[in-house]
């Protein structure tokens, strides 16, 4: 049973796995870079929260740094469950792709 995951959720989950030090802005930046779409910070936040709630991400508050006026970041990383879900999704996709009738 694969949990229901939206396309944006899937992308963000993947990006968290890719990006080093994943937090709101870095994920948003990566998203914009890798997909050529724009996205707002609140939207990223929402998705991150949702994924955390589903247990695919976990988060902790980073240390205060000077660069953001001393404000701390909430850092995210994927949980083992997150990895499991993403790989299952991938397998499913591949299975489905293989079922497309070939014409040539």
């Amino acid at each position: 049973m694969i949990p229901n995951l939206g396309q944006l959720e899937e992308s963000v989950l993947l990006l968290v796995m890719i990006v080093e030090e994943a937090y709101g802005v870095s994920v948003a930046q990566a998203y914009e870079e890798k997909t050529d779409n724009t996205i707002s910070i609140p939207a990223i936040h929402t998705v991150l929260k949702r994924l955390e709630k589903k247990g695919m991400l976990r988060s902790w508050m980073g240390k205060a740094t000077a660069e953001r006026g001393g404000r701390r970041k909430r850092l995210f990383e994927a949980t083992p469950y997150g990895y499991q879900v993403i790989s299952q999704l991938r397998e499913n996709r591949i299975k489905l792709w293989s079922l497309i009738p070939k014409f040539n």
Binding site: G24, V25, I41, H45, E67, G69, R71, R72, K73
Partner: protein, 908 residues
């Protein structure tokens, strides 16, 4: 490099958006959110430039503003957290149940206040929406007629609700704005009494006497929108000898059979075909009837085109765009065109006005109104009364809560110690006050429900079948009003106690010997005095109304009203009616229980129909004065036990033989003597006066002067009356002066004689005192509404006083103990405890008495005969107030004064 830094410092996220974010955002999210937004902002400045970055920042701040990221209600920022909310409720309920008397007084007092206001609002709503059920109500006007003398203005006294029959048709003819007109005239103008008979197929006859009957134009039913059950409004009255009847009348005569096409016979001579059945006329219609006869039935001979017969209610329907004022402005020319000659002959100037039909019930008090109307004054008065009662209940709440707050000082202290902010405490107490208000609202619904039938009875109006069928339930404004009263009430009465309670200093309160002295005392005194003021005014008002009513009922009317039985003369008669009545009188007079019998055109208690002008012989005609004709026979004076104070009574030989006699012996009453300008009653004797009976002038010789008596209610002054004994009259009433010993037998005798004298007629009779007192119905109703609500007000005020005295005494328990130990007597302590309240009553009366004086003076000036305003009228209520207050507080004071001092002092 320096330039870039400069640049970077310059570009910052919009401060207001940043601050907004800080304001709403939950603190645990603020760091990450704000950090991310700022970081993104600076990245975007580089990417897209400052403007876009700023714009995006604002947009994202707004996007973040959603429930999940908004601050949770927080004790340091908001008044109530869910947890505390629960706690407040718990405490509020515990408080309510802990001091049951206090809560009961508060809740019950408020409930009574709300219920009273609700009832009064309903009544006012009902009274001010008369005739609104007519679809075209905004366009329907009644044309009133005023006859003014030069220099006079239009007043209710010189204006009548009825108009000449020719006015309606002429208005429609002359003015395009007048779409339609309708006349309605009471059947009593044409027939004395009306027995309606229905004979069914089997020959079985059903007969009733009907009096709610009008003769109306066909358009009457289309201008107004009385709903029809059978037949159609357009055609029901379109032909002669047709009739439209109400649903219940139809049932009365025909049972469940189809009423359409059935024939009703009026007075055994005129058949009328039923062409329509309308729903029973609702209570909120200014004109009430069961039967409408088509106007065409009257035939040509009645003179539809007369300009001097003001007996017809005339309604016009104006075109939708017509301006009534502009139409009214053309009336003087209209009147001149048709009435110049008549006005010259009768020496008056006619004026006509358009009266919106919807306004009739509350504003119209002209002569010949179709029904007794209410008044705006009464509505204002009731509004004030409702406000008074609500105020009294609110004051109770404020007073009791401030006093009660002493008990809660410790709670407040503790809450403050553990960190309650003042606003939180205020919130808590406001919540409690809201709770009490809502409880009161629920209770008041019960009270209203129980009181509803009784309320309809005292108002004399069937406002609605049941409480739940009221139309206001569907009105948004009404719900708004209820919510408004509760919310505003709760805030209003809750705020002061809340403010005061929350001001306690915990250190002081918790030390244990918190002293019961705070600033609430003076405010409480003011409020209690205000209650006293209201109550005293209401008591004075009630006593005045009551005394005036009983004065009017018991005043010597100038005739023996208690043993007079009035028989209406028969509806079905022929040309021998005058002789028949004479023999009926003779037959009746033979019985021993019957003292005297007389026939007359009017009886006391009604306005005399015939009026004219009279002047002294030899004087100019323009010295004339107005007077009322009363046709009587020689037995009239003795039957009514009136007095002829000068000259002699009329005798059989004084009968005026015919309508065009040139000479007549007459009697006049004192009021007419005075009006004609004679210096004494004797001076008037054998004087010759000129007036008209028919066309020619009649010379009347005054042979007697009748002592003044009240022809109409005591609200009116004595009418100037001329008494004459005409030989041609067919009389309206036969009045029997009887001994009241064996009343049932005597009435049976009268009935028997009546059947013999006038076979086929139904006997209709009533007692004169009932008939006379019917004029006071409106006053009576006013009196009962007033006294019921005054009683309520006093009850509410007493409740408050009761609670208040209980708590003030509790504070003084120790003081009383010490006094007793030192030798004070119970009486002295009672006096001491009561004096505070007594003082307040006196202060209150200083304010109340002048107000009450002007109010009752104003009210009494409506009555030509009224009670004198005496000192007692003010002293008595004051004493009553004192007594009520003392009795109320003495329940507690006695207990306190009698208590064993050892007990109260041991508490330390």
């Amino acid at each position: 490099m320096a330039e870039e830094r400069e640049h970077k410092r310059d570009v910052t996220p919009p401060q207001w958006a940043n601050r907004f974010l800080e304001w709403y955002c939950a603190p645990n999210l603020l760091d990450e959110v704000q950090g991310d937004l700022h970081e993104a902002f600076y990245i975007r400045v580089k990417q897209y430039g400052a403007r876009k970055a700023k714009w995006l920042f604002v947009k994202e701040v707004l996007l973040f503003c959603k429930p999940s990221s908004v601050k949770k209600p927080d004790s340091t920022h908001l008044l109530i957290t869910p947890d505390m909310f629960q706690n407040y409720f718990k405490i509020a309920f515990r408080n309510l149940t802990k001091s049951k008397v206090f809560s009961a007084i508060n809740v019950f007092g408020l409930a009574v206040g709300l219920a009273a206001s609700f009832l009064i609002t309903q009544y006012i709503h009902f009274e001010s929406n008369y005739d609104q059920f007519h679809e075209k109500v905004d366009r329907i006007y009644r044309v009133t007629l005023s006859s003014v003398q030069p220099g006079e203005v239009v007043t209710p006294q010189n204006t009548s609700a009825v108009n000449h029959p020719a006015v309606g048709p002429a208005l429609q003819e002359d003015f395009p704005q007048v779409e339609a007109f309708a006349r309605a005239v009471t059947q009593t103008l044409f027939i004395n009494a009306s027995s309606i008979t229905y004979v069914d197929e089997t020959g079985q006859a059903t007969t009733f006497n009907e009096d709610r009957m009008y003769i109306a134009d066909s358009a009457f039913l289309t201008i107004f929108s009385f709903p029809f059950v059978a037949g159609s409004a357009e055609t029901a009255l379109a032909e002669p000898q047709t009739v439209a009847i109400s649903e219940s009348t139809a049932k009365k005569y025909f049972g469940s059979a189809d009423p359409l096409g059935k024939v009703l016979e009026i007075n055994g001579e005129l058949p009328l075909t039923v062409r329509g059945v309308f729903k029973d006329i609702p209570e909120d219609s200014h004109i009430q009837f069961d039967i409408l006869i088509s106007f065409l039935t009257l035939g040509e001979k009645w003179g539809y085109d007369t300009w001097i017969w003001p007996e017809f209610y005339t309604y016009v329907l104006l075109a939708p765009e017509a301006d009534p004022e502009q139409l009214e402005a053309q009336f003087p020319a209209f009147i001149d065109q048709y009435m110049t000659d008549i006005m010259a002959e009768h020496k008056f100037q006619a004026e006509m006005h358009l009266q919106p039909v919807g306004d009739i019930h509350l504003t119209s008090h002209y002569n010949n109104e179709a029904e007794a109307n209410s008044s705006e004054q009464l509505m204002t008065f009731l509004t004030i009364l409702a406000a008074f009662i609500l105020f009294l209940a609110w004051i109770n709440y404020v007073n009791l809560s401030t006093v009660k707050s002493l008990d809660r000082a410790r709670e407040v202290g503790l809450r403050k110690v553990v960190g309650a902010a003042r606003l939180q405490l205020i919130g808590q107490f406001l919540l409690e006050s809201m709770l009490i208000n809502v409880l009161a609202l629920l209770l008041s619904v019960g009270i209203v429900w129980l009181a509803w039938p009784f309320f309809q009875q005292i108002t004399g109006k069937e406002i609605s079948e049941s409480l739940w069928a009221l139309s206001v339930w569907q009105e948004l404004w009404f719900w708004g009003l209820i919510v408004g009263v509760i919310v505003v009430g709760a805030l209003l009465v809750g705020f002061y106690p809340a403010w005061m309670l929350s001001s306690f200093r915990p250190a002081k309160v918790l030390k244990g010997n918190f002293h019961h002295s705070f600033t609430g005392v003076s405010l409480r005194k003011v409020l209690v005095s205000f209650q006293f003021v209201l109550t005293i005014i209401l008591i004075i008002g009630t006593i005045t109304v009551y005394k005036q009513l009983s004065f009017m009922r018991n005043q010597d009317l100038g005739y023996a009203k208690d043993q007079l039985l009035v028989v209406k003369s028969p509806a079905i008669y022929d040309s021998t009616i005058t002789q028949q009545i004479t023999s009926f009188k003779t037959e009746l007079a033979r019985h021993s229980a019957i003292h005297q019998v007389t026939a007359s055109t009017e009886i006391p208690g009604e306005t005399i129909f015939a009026r004219n002008h009279i002047w002294k012989k030899g004087k100019e005609k323009n010295t004339d004065v107005g007077f009322f004709y009363l046709d009587i026979d020689p037995d009239f004076i003795n039957t009514f036990e009136m007095t002829v104070i000068a000259g002699r009574n009329l005798r059989e030989e004084d009968k005026v033989p015919s309508f065009d006699a040139k000479y007549a012996k007459i009697m006049i009453n004192e009021a007419l003597v005075k009006k004609l300008g004679y210096s004494s009653n004797e001076d008037a004797l054998h004087e010759r006066l000129i007036f008209r009976l028919g066309l020619p002038e009649v010379e009347g010789e005054v042979i007697g002067v009748v002592k003044n008596y009240h022809q109409r209610s005591l609200q009116q002054a004595y009418d100037p009356i001329l008494f004459i004994y005409p030989g041609w009259n067919r009389w309206q009433y036969i009045t029997v002066n009887l001994s009241t010993d064996k009343l049932p037998q005597t009435i049976a005798t009268v009935e028997e004689e009546f059947q013999q004298a006038f076979p086929g007629n139904a006997l209709e009779y009533f007692f004169l005192d009932d008939y006379f007192n019917r004029q006071y119905e409106a006053d009576q109703r006013f009196g009962s509404i007033f006294s019921v609500f005054t009683t309520l007000a006093i009850v509410v005020a007493c409740l408050g006083l009761f609670g208040l005295s209980a708590f003030t005494l509790k504070q003084r328990t120790k003081e009383i103990g010490i006094r007793k130990v030192l030798g004070a007597s119970v009486a002295r302590i009672l006096a001491l405890l009561s004096q505070d309240f007594v003082k307040l009553i006196f202060i209150a009366s200083l304010v109340a008495l002048p107000i009450a004086y002007f109010a009752i003076q104003h009210w009494l000036s409506n009555y030509a005969f009224h009670i004198e305003i005496s000192v007692w009228l003010f002293l008595l209520p004051l004493l009553l107030m004192l007594a009520i207050a003392l009795v109320t507080i003495s329940i507690h004071t006695f207990k306190a004064a009698l208590a064993n001092p050892a007990k109260s002092l041991r508490q330390e």
